[in-house]
Amino acid sequence: MPTYKLSYFDLRGRGELARLVFKAAQRDFEDDRVQREDWPTLKASTPFGQMPVLDVDGKKLAQSNTISRFLAREFNLAGKDSFEQAQCDQYLELVEDMFKEFAKAFFEKDEEKKKEINKNLSEVVFPKFLGLFEKALEANGGSFLVGNSLSLADLGVYNGFDTPLQQNPKMMDSYPKLKALRSRIEGMPTIGDYLKNRKVSDI
């Protein structure tokens, strides 16, 4: 069995999806949470000067979605064949598209522009993606996004809505299948405990 170490800051951000994959697969890993003051020294040892970084028996892998995809393949959470793997990828990329819009609000400093962006998020962007994922669940039988069991797609969508839901806890209320998927994940062993007890972070 390989030894895994995931290095990232002590928040959800770009590291959380990989952590969720480990938890969903019930696999051990060193959850190396790096403090801000220690990051500058560590930076040079990373492949591209960023985190998260996954260390697998001494070999390093960078880029959050690359890491999540690799782990999903290792732990049979990437669909049953190449086409299902592609479907998982599709959902990760859709979440990424949603995240790009969400990030605009986060980085905008001008208060007026920020208000506009947030309005667009709640009236256009989130309904669009919520609707898209709800419809996808319906089309796939209602329980999971890809195939008949939990996959990286479900974890990616779960993770993608963590911060938006923190800011607006009611945003999923009209999307029963998405809501049910969230509850289903929260009720699964190991990952359920992790989600219940993990500390809150802004992002």
């Binding site: 492949p47 591209f48 000067g49 697998v56 070999k59 892998l61 960078a62 880029q63 959050s64 979605n65 690359t66 890491i67 995809r69 690799f70 393949r73 290792e74 190449s82 086409f83 793997q85 592609a86 479907q87 990828d89 599709q90 990329e93 859709l94 790009k100 898209l132």
Partner: protein, 218 residues
């Protein structure tokens, strides 16, 4: 002509799927997919359209966007998803899961650079646009060109992953198509990256396409 459809499953396996790529008549988010088909020597229907004609195809797109690919009629969306899937189908995805991940790293890194490249293109304010373009040439391109050179050199200098051409090589090649138009010298301090680019351009299956391809802004 005899109908073999009820005969040996081996005959079914031998049939190639039909591929239809739907995208605008520019490089943009479709070009990497085209490179994969060409490099692998696989046939595909390269459906290109204007914004007007897009309205007709849009209802078929899984999430209302292009590019999308139809594989024997089954749709797949998202440019990098499509490129990864085809690379796996055509043996351009590395020899194992780790190599596949090393290739993914390059696609994700290219995506990081692409996000920056897009900013001045979409910026309407002329002053801000100038600033963003300057930032691209002075900060962003040098940063990424060094990261890619380092990665390539660490793998021996010829191919980005393993010992042969993979999606990784095509993705990095594609990522610099637009930047090199405005900054033709950006690879001058990166001998391996420059040589890798010539190598990709020289591939017989790509060379003819690249020579006759019409110019596009993005």
């Amino acid at each position: 002509c005899t109908d073999f459809s009820n005969h040996s499953p081996l005959l079914k396996i031998a049939t190639m799927p039909s591929y239809k790529l739907y995208y605008f008549d520019v490089r943009g988010r479709g070009e990497l997919i085209r490179y994969v088909f060409l490099a692998a020597g696989k046939e595909f229907d390269d459906i290109r359209f204007t914004s007007e004609v897009w309205k007709e195809h849009k209802p078929k797109a899984p999430y209302g966007q292009a590019p999308f690919l139809e594989i024997d009629g089954k749709p797949l969306a998202q440019s990098n998803t499509i490129a990864r899937y085809l690379a796996r189908e055509f043996g351009l995805a590395g020899k194992d899961s780790w190599e596949q991940a090393k290739i993914d790293e390059l696609l994700d890194l290219s995506e990081d650079m692409f996000k920056e490249v897009g900013k001045p293109i979409f910026e309407k304010d002329e002053e801000k646009k100038k600033e963003l373009l300057k930032n691209l040439t002075d900060v962003v391109y040098p940063k990424f060109v060094q990261l890619f050179e380092k990665s390539l050199t660490a793998n021996g200098g010829k191919f980005f992953v393993g010992n042969e051409l993979t999606l990784g090589d095509l993705a990095v090649y594609c990522a610099f198509d637009t930047p090199l138009k405005s900054s033709p010298n950006l690879m001058d301090d990166c001998p391996n990256l420059k040589a890798q680019r010539s190598m990709v351009e020289g591939l017989p299956k790509l060379a003819a396409y690249l020579k006759t391809r019409k110019d596009s802004h993005i």
